[in-house]
Structure formats: structure tokens, C-alpha cells
Amino acid sequence: MIGPPLSLKPHMDAAFGGTTDMFGYIMRRVAQSALVLLVVGFVAFAMFRFVGDPIDNMLGQERTLEDIERLRAQLGLDDSFLVQYYRFLEQAVQGNFGLSYRQGREVSEILLERLPATLELAFVSGLLALFGGIVLGIFTAIRKRGVSSSIIMSVSLIGVSLPTFLIGVLLIYLFSVGVDLPFAIPMLWFETEAWSSFGLVWIENTSLGLPSFGRGDVVEIGGWTTGFLTESGLKALILPAITLGLYQMTLIMRLVRTEMLEVLRMDYIRFARARGIRSRVINFRHALKNTLVPVITITGLQLGSIIAFAIITETVFQWPGVGLLFINAIQFVDIPVMAAYLMMISVMFVGINLIVDMLYFAIDPRLRVDRGGSN
């Protein structure tokens, strides 16, 4: 398999190998998450403090030494490093990251305004990746030696090597700009009653007229802008969602396939076959259920990377979400926006990781019983 290894996190293995004390384990994970957030907060604070001089950013060209001194004292920049870090955390917890250097508005306000666009995109592509991945994974596992399976596997190999931005650009090229690439689609012609003839539909140009940038028309509902309710909004969502979901889909597909092949070799499947249970029931009721545990957890962890990879997709499609905001902030060294984005995304990541870890206990009943008792 290609791509990052999909092993469960080693600290999980360690925890389950030793003790299954659930409460202690979760408490340890919560403490660890808090530590991660403190470290990230430190990085964000260090960016504020050491990248450029805040005084420079606030006072213009005609400043006097007294002005600088006064402002330093007023802002508390003369206090010790730790005191300043504490103050930064205090403000950050309240969601206050100051003003954007570039737009001169509250950073939290800008982020909140942009967040719905990113979340909608991530949601749709996550669903696409999950369903597409599971369906294709099952298919390629059941038809292990079929021609269509090996075609899907080879295409997925190319899909893993294609960078996200290139997928986006190529999709725009094919379905938005359009290429004069005549090809035929076999079609059944439906007429009044039953189908009457079989034929080919020639398509001269691949363009589907899909929009290549922006969100289309959005509807605002209580501060949340949604593109789900308008036709142009939905249309605008198609290409970005595919771009963002494709890579995750190939990962999930390969994972489902590997797990499924492993499960199908198990004795209980063989016995089920021997008992004459229909293969559809075996594949979907018996085998699929046992494949889903690692799939759900890995998908949960991938949700974090969907949000991060949204930066790339949003740039390709000029999608007005937080990722595009972040890239622009990097280009213009807009430190408050960078720091706030970093904090926001780490809270999301850490939260998702924590939930996924707890899901292990919820999904897999074997982890809930105390292992010491069963020995």
C-alpha cells in the first residue's frame, strides 16, 4: 500500500496491551490533549512576540521614544515572558486574538464569518469519501481477482500520487473549461413503455458548465451562511468536494479492502459459507460489521486532515473559507490570523482525536470488559 501508514496510534496499542482501565486511560488522554493545546498556544504566542515587533505594527513612522516606552508599558510588553504568555492564553480562551494586520477587523469575527464555508465543504467531502471508499473497498475485496477491481486499484494508485491541487486543477480543466474530447457513452433509450433500443451518445465536449470558483449564491440563516439551499450553491460545491474527498476516498477504500480481505479469511466466515448462508448476507452482515471498527476510527482521524487539506482546495477554487484566509495570511505575514487559525484548528484536531479514542470503547465491546477478569 502506498501513502502514510494506516496503523492505529501506538499509544493506543500500548494502553490496550497493558491495562484496560477506561477511566484512567481517558483521563490520561485528556491531560495529553491539554498539553498539546498549551504547546500550540506557546507557538502561537511566540509568533506574536518574536515575528515582527507589535509596536512597529501599531505606531506609525513618526513615533518618539517616549511613545514607544508608553505603549510598551501600557500593553504590558515589559512584563516577564511567562506573565505575557498567561495573559495571551487568557485572551485566547475567550476567543480574542486582536485585530488582523491586513484587514483591521477582529480576527475572531473574520474567522466566524468564514467558518461555515469550510465546514460545509469538509462535511460533503467527508461523506463522499466515507461512502465512496466503503462501497469501492467492499467491491474490490469481494471481486478480488476481477478485472474491474484491478482497474479500480490501479486508478487509486494514481490517485494517491496526484497532489490535491492537481486533482482540482484537472477537474476544473475537464468539467468547467471543457476539452473537445469526443467520446461515447453507451445508453439505453427509454421510450414510452419499455426500453426500445440501445445506442451510443456522443459527447463532443467534456464541459459540464460547473463553476470553477466561489460558493455560488448563499442563504444566511442566523449567522450561518449555507450554500445547500440554492442551485448555484450546490453546483459550486461539486468540484471542490470531489477534489477534497478523492484522496481520503482512496485511503478509506484501500483500508476497507485490506480489512475485508482479512476478515473474509476468518474461520467464522468459512463456517457461515459452509452453513449455506447467502454470500450477500455473509459479506454485508457478518464481514462488513467487523471491518468497520478501524474504518470509523481512521475516518475520524482523517477528518482533521480534511480540514487541513481544505486549505489547498479552497485556494484552487477560491472558496471563501478559513483555509483561503490562512494562505493569504501567510502570504502577507498576518500574524494574528495565522495564530488564531492555528489555535482553532488544533482545538478541532485535539477534540476529534479525543472523540475517536473514546469511540474505540463505544464501538468495540471487547475493550469494555476488564481483561483481568476474563483470564
Binding site: 502506498i2 494514481i158 485556494t315
Partner: protein, 318 residues
């Protein structure tokens, strides 16, 4: 390598090192994996083309004296309407030969990729060895940092490092420093994989007898780590390095495409795709598709090679 008559008459002739290497299990499985052979040849051809770019490229795309704006937007293989010149893969908006810019761009992509992986490898292997061999607080700190970093996708970490470095470097040096900042950003975002694997293997190796023996004769910890343990943990490192190379090239292309990587004055493949994307809507497809195809070929063949290497070097897969 002229064999003496004595060795010729022997039933089992002395093999040269080259022959032994060719007959080894590793080379046997290589010769019998057509995918590996093809991707290896593709990688070698692409790398050679990049290294020899000044010799192969028909034009020097970065020398303004050789450029003619009239040659802009020449389609591949066709003669330009004004100058009558024709170009193998066409020209971009400034009349630069696309074939030459791809060769030079690949040079930058590969340079950044190799350097970043080298940085990540040296850093990761060293920290992994130290964490595994020394243990205790040192190990806890190194591995906690690795865990925190692993919470975030590497590309995000690279972007962040790039952003911070950009803020620190003075504006007039930014373009010159961009390539080095890029290497630093990708290298620092990628060391964790190496460190984790090396630490795991080191934990196993350090209890073996040869390490005990080395300790007994009084070798220093550093010498034991570098001279005794390191050679025994190298094969997984090689596999990760190959796959990391593909990832690093893709990461570089992504950053450059997003405009936070190689500057337009020193375009890498990602920058070329960024430029090409602007002309996609007006029908000049060659400016986009040729660099894109090159990037795909490069990433795919390195990936396939790494895939094969993983199976070939893994004793359990034989």
C-alpha cells in the same frame, strides 16, 4: 577483473562483488518485478534529465537575453505566427520554451525534495537513536514532541514554518531564501516518521549481544549508536526515505502552487503549474498539462519504487 587460470578451473568460481550483488535476493526480486524495473528506469531518466538540464535544454529559460516575447503562446510543435520558430512542447506567455522550463523546474523540485528528505532523515534518525538508546526523560521529551507534531498534517506544519520563517527574514532576502526556507519547512515537518521507526528498532537492537559486547569493551554511547546500531536500522529508513521523497516533492509542489514556496524567478514544477493554471481558461493547455504530467510521472514512479522496496526489504513478505 581478470580471473587467474586457477580460479577458472575451480568448480565454484570466485564471484566479483558486482556479480554477488547481482545474484543477491534483493536484486533477484528487483529483476522479477517489472513494475519496479520500469519505475526505476523512469526515476533515473527523470533525475538525469533534471541534473543535465543545462546540457539538454534547448534554451535557457532564465536568461532574458535569449527570450523573445513574440514567441509567446506558441503551441507545441507548431511554428510561431510571427517568428516562425517552433518549440517541442510550446512556449508560455513570456515566450519561454516549456520543455526547458520543465527541465529546470524539475531540478528545483528534486533539489528541494532530496534536501528536505536528507534533513528529515538525519534529524529523525539521530533523535530516534538517542530516544531509543538513552531512554528516560530524553526519550519522553523527544517522543512527546513527535506526538504533538503528528497531531497535525505535515503540509500544515510546513506551511506554518514557512510563514514564520518568512516573517523573520527581511523582505529583501525573501526571494533568495525561499528555496532554503522551503527545504527547512518540509524537512522539519517530516522527521517524525523516521524518529518513530528508528526508536522502535533501536529498542529491540540495544538488548542484543553485539551491543552488550560493544559496551563491555568500553565504546562510547555515541559510537555504539552510530557505528553499531545505525547500520542495523537502515533498511526501514531507506523505505521511509523513498516514500518521503515522493511526499516531499508533492509537498513542495503544493506549497509552490499555493504561492508560499519557490518564487516565480526560480520556478519549480509547482510554480509552473500555478502559472499554467492561469492560461487554462484561454485554451493554452500545454503550459499547464506538460508540467502537471511531469510531476505526476515523478511522484508515481517514486511511489511505486518505494512500494516495491517496502515489500522487498521486509523479511516477512518474502
Amino acid at each position: 577483473m581478470v580471473d587467474t587460470p586457477v580460479s577458472e578451473t575451480k568448480p565454484a568460481p570466485q564471484m566479483t562483488r558486482l556479480q554477488r550483488w547481482w545474484d543477491s535476493d534483493f536484486m533477484y526480486s528487483f529483476r522479477h518485478a517489472p513494475v519496479a524495473v520500469v519505475s526505476f528506469i523512469a526515476v533515473v531518466v527523470l533525475v538525469m534529465a533534471a541534473v543535465c538540464a543545462p546540457l539538454i535544454a534547448p534554451y535557457d529559460p532564465f536568461n532574458p537575453a535569449t527570450l523573445n516575447l513574440m514567441n509567446g503562446f506558441t503551441a507545441p510543435g507548431e511554428a510561431n505566427a510571427f517568428t516562425g520558430e517552433s518549440f517541442f512542447l510550446g512556449t508560455d506567455d513570456q515566450g519561454r520554451d516549456v520543455f526547458s522550463t520543465i527541465l529546470y523546474g524539475m531540478r528545483i523540485s528534486l533539489f528541494v525534495g532530496f534536501s528536505a528528505v536528507l534533513l528529515a532523515m538525519v534529524l529523525g534518525v539521530f533523535l530516534g537513536l538517542v530516544a531509543g538508546y538513552v531512554g528516560g526523560w530524553t526519550e519522553t521529551i523527544i517522543m512527546r514532541v513527535a506526538d504533538v507534531q503528528l497531531t497535525f498534517p505535515a503540509i500544515l506544519v510546513a506551511m506554518l514554518i514557512f510563514g514564520i520563517a518568512k516573517g523573520i527574514t527581511p523582505a529583501e532576502y525573501r526571494d533568495q531564501m525561499a528555496i532554503w526556507v522551503l527545504i527547512l519547512a518540509i524537512g522539519l515537518s517530516d522527521w517524525v516518521q523516521f524518529a518513530r521507526v528508528v526508536r522502535g528498532t533501536t529498542l529491540v537492537e540495544k538488548n542484543k549481544e553485539y551491543v552488550q559486547a560493544a559496551k563491555l569493551i568500553g565504546r562510547s554511547p555515541l559510537a555504539i549508536m552510530l557505528r553499531h546500531i545505525l547500520p542495523n536500522v537502515l533498511s526501514p529508513v531507506l523505505v521511509i526515505a523513498t516514500i518521503s521523497l515522493a511526499l516531499a516533492i508533492i509537498a513542495e509542489a503544493t506549497l509552490s502552487f499555493l504561492g508560499v514556496g519557490a518564487p516565480p524567478t526560480k520556478p519549480s514544477l509547482g510554480t509552473l503549474i500555478r502559472i499554467g493554471q492561469e492560461f487554462m481558461f484561454s485554451g493554452e493547455w500545454w503550459i499547464l498539462l506538460f508540467p502537471a504530467g511531469t510531476l505526476l510521472a515523478l511522484a508515481l514512479s517514486i511511489n511505486l519504487l518505494g512500494d516495491w522496496l517496502r515489500d522487498a526489504l521486509n523479511p516477512r513478505m518474502r
